[in-house]
């Protein structure tokens, strides 16, 4: 099984085989040579990976991002931000983190945020002097904030798997999510100062007013989508569809930058990228299923348990193990498998299960952009057209930043728990 589920996939991945074929080949070989399970299970689990309502967020937000980029909504937003804060060092990179945080409050899917932002912000970041690798790395890693800021699909799944209160988890995620965003901002400001990224002129009230006027319809987009969720007009998954609708209306009738043929072409491009993402998610799910039925997660957890640690070292061990797992598995399936196994141990050690949920979520959020397997990396790579090794290099500093945030979140439970107390 080591050969089929570890060596073969890493080899195929290194040779540049499409990622979904890497997973599919690994499970096909395992089914053929090792598992007693009938092959129909392969189809059944694969279908189960697709048949998930919450995954609709991916095509929706991919499409919304494509529309924002093609229609000029995104560039007007960027112009507006730069007109207001362009004189500050690192303003564009900070805006990228800010945009991820705002999208985070709209959507619950990390990869959707990366896809939505990469197309529009990557060229601007590069032309501002951040360098290709760092820009793509910033985009891939900022997406992680999305699943820590509520709403979050990962937290909903944790709540269901570990029987914890989802509202409390959502509340608990706010400060850790903002902390991650803050640390990313500080880091990119330092980078901007060190790299001497030029600041964009002085603040000019007339220019700022003009930019604001130009961007009104664009600025109302997050207001409409966020307002819609928090007023109960639509659910977080449906919000993606409304983001598309809003962008279509603005692009076609307000800015008139796209005709219907352009919109269909944008939809086609989004469908293609979504297909490439979703087929990876589904095939990765089969890998997790095979591991689960072969008792691998159970063995890992039993091993942690046998070490008989105190709460502090247990959390450290969990972080290390989950970060490694995050390098290979998709967070949503990892949460479903590991939460029921780890939470009872955490509770027995006196760790608050809500706090533990945040630790798991942040961990696996980081896993979205840790090499070699990370959906955020793959998507950023696909949108920017950069080679993989550039992405791998580009994300590493941000892995360091977010792991630092993870350690703070792990050892200062109050960050996760103080908002939840009010419930």
């Amino acid at each position: 099984m080591t050969a089929s589920l570890a060596i073969l996939p890493v080899l195929l991945l290194a040779l540049g085989t499409p990622v979904f074929l890497v997973f599919l080949a690994a499970v096909a070989v395992t089914f053929f040579f090792i598992l007693p399970t009938p092959p129909v299970a392969l189809h059944q689990v694969l279908f189960g990976g697709f048949d998930n309502y919450a995954l609709l967020a991916i095509p929706f937000f991919v499409f919304a991002g494509e529309l924002m980029g093609t229609s000029g909504i995104a560039s007007r937003l960027i112009t507006w931000v730069l007109a207001l804060v362009g004189r500050l060092p690192g303003s564009l990179a900070v805006s990228t983190v800010g945009a991820s945080t705002v999208i985070g409050a709209i959507s619950g899917s990390s990869v959707a945020a990366v896809a939505a932002l990469s197309k529009t912000l990557y060229p601007k970041l590069v032309s501002s002097g951040y360098g290709k690798e760092r820009s793509a790395g910033l985009l891939a890693s900022s997406g992680a904030i999305d699943i820590v800021i509520p709403p979050s699909i990962a937290m909903i799944l944790y709540g269901l798997a570990a029987e914890q209160s989802i509202p409390r988890l959502f509340m608990a995620g706010v400060i850790p999510g903002l902390l991650m965003a803050l640390m990313m901002c500080i880091f990119v400001i330092v980078v901007a100062i060190v790299l001497r990224i030029p600041v964009v002129g002085r603040f000019d009230p007339r220019e700022a007013w003009l930019a604001t006027k130009n961007a009104i319809a664009a600025l109302l987009m997050p207001v409409f989508v966020l307002g819609g969720i928090y007023n109960g007009w639509f659910s977080p998954t449906e919000a993606g569809g409304f983001a598309c609708l809003y962008a279509i209306v603005v692009a076609r009738f307000v800015y008139r930058t796209m005709n219907w043929a352009d919109i269909i072409r944008a939809a086609g491009n989004s469908a293609m990228l979504s297909a490439q993402i979703l087929i990876i998610v589904a095939t990765a799910g089969v890998v997790t299923w095979v591991l689960t039925t072969q008792g691998v997660p159970q063995a890992i957890v039993a091993w942690i348990q046998a070490l008989d640690m105190n709460a502090m070292t247990f959390l450290l061990a969990v972080n290390v193990v989950l970060l490694i797992i995050g390098c290979f598995l998709d967070p949503t399936s990892a949460i479903l498998v590991f939460a029921p196994l780890l939470v009872p141990i955490a509770i027995s050690l006196g760790i608050d299960p809500i706090h533990f949920g945040i630790i798991m979520t942040v961990n696996l959020a980081i896993g979205m952009f840790t090499p070699p397997f990370g959906l955020n990396i793959f998507v950023a790579q696909s949108v920017t057209g950069l080679p993989a090794h550039s992405l791998y290099k580009g994300v590493l500093p941000f892995v360091a930043v977010q792991v630092t945030a993870l350690l703070i979140i792990t050892y200062v439970p109050a960050l996760s728990l103080m908002l939840g107390q009010s419930l």
């Binding site: 909903i156 007023n231 109960g232 479903l336």
Partner: protein, 310 residues
Amino acid sequence: QSTMKLASATINDVQHEWQKVFAEELKTRVGDAVKTEIYPASQLGAIPRMAEGVLLGTIEAFTTPTSFMTNVDPRFQAFDVPGLFKTPQDVDNAIHDPEYRARLEEMFLDKGLRVIGAIYNSPTVVFTMKPVTTLDGLKGLKIRTFASPMQIKPMELVGATPLPLALTEVIPQLEAGGLDGMLVGMPILTAFKYYDVGKNITDLRFAEIVSVTVVNEDWFQSQTDEVKKAIVDAGRAAETSVFQWGVDNVQKTYQVWADNGGVINKLSDEDQAKMEGEFHTLAGTLVDANPAVKEEYQRLKTLVDAKVAK
């Protein structure tokens, strides 16, 4: 040695308890001849996938409320007809009647499934964000239900708006006001700590959830006669011993609900009687749609009524 994967969508509830007791009972009967593996909390996939899994033999056994098997065989609907079961005792009287239980075991063999466990799960209650104490109070409320006529039609009848929404969307929508409530099994409310979302339930006492454990018949037939008998016996033994556990567990969840500031609302006797009368008529029209369901419903109804009369 053969492996028996037992899957379910929940954890630490009566379904999980039945699986644990079943595993022990089986071990005392056949030792290591069958290795049981329990996968609670949807670890092997979402409910429709587990249902397909047991149909196709990728999962050996699946424990589930009957309402999630109606697309496999409509006769599973019979257990969910509003007004059929009002108390745990009603459920016990019907499904554990020796003659009926024997029938139930082989009822779905034509679908390749054998029922090896039938247990009382819990009452269906209405969770609401605002208190509801009258039938009129339900009017116009957006209530999340399953996509089943057995839940949709009763809610329409009382004037509420039934909305079959994906589970992951429910809590964000309840909090934002897009939903006013949901039809739900009582233990789910405390397991997922819904008292952090809202404080009110209305106990309409119109349905009790029955859970069954089905095994893949091909797999079952591939076992030795000794193992087959042991599986059937262990299933029966487990359901006998967990019945009271299930009843107590439901009582405990009402207590947990109250301890966390939750309120349990009831309709006035007048409203309750009115609702039950309307549901009785509705039950008739619901089962008329399918003769097989009707036949099964009447069988169950006769058993419930006969025992109540005693």
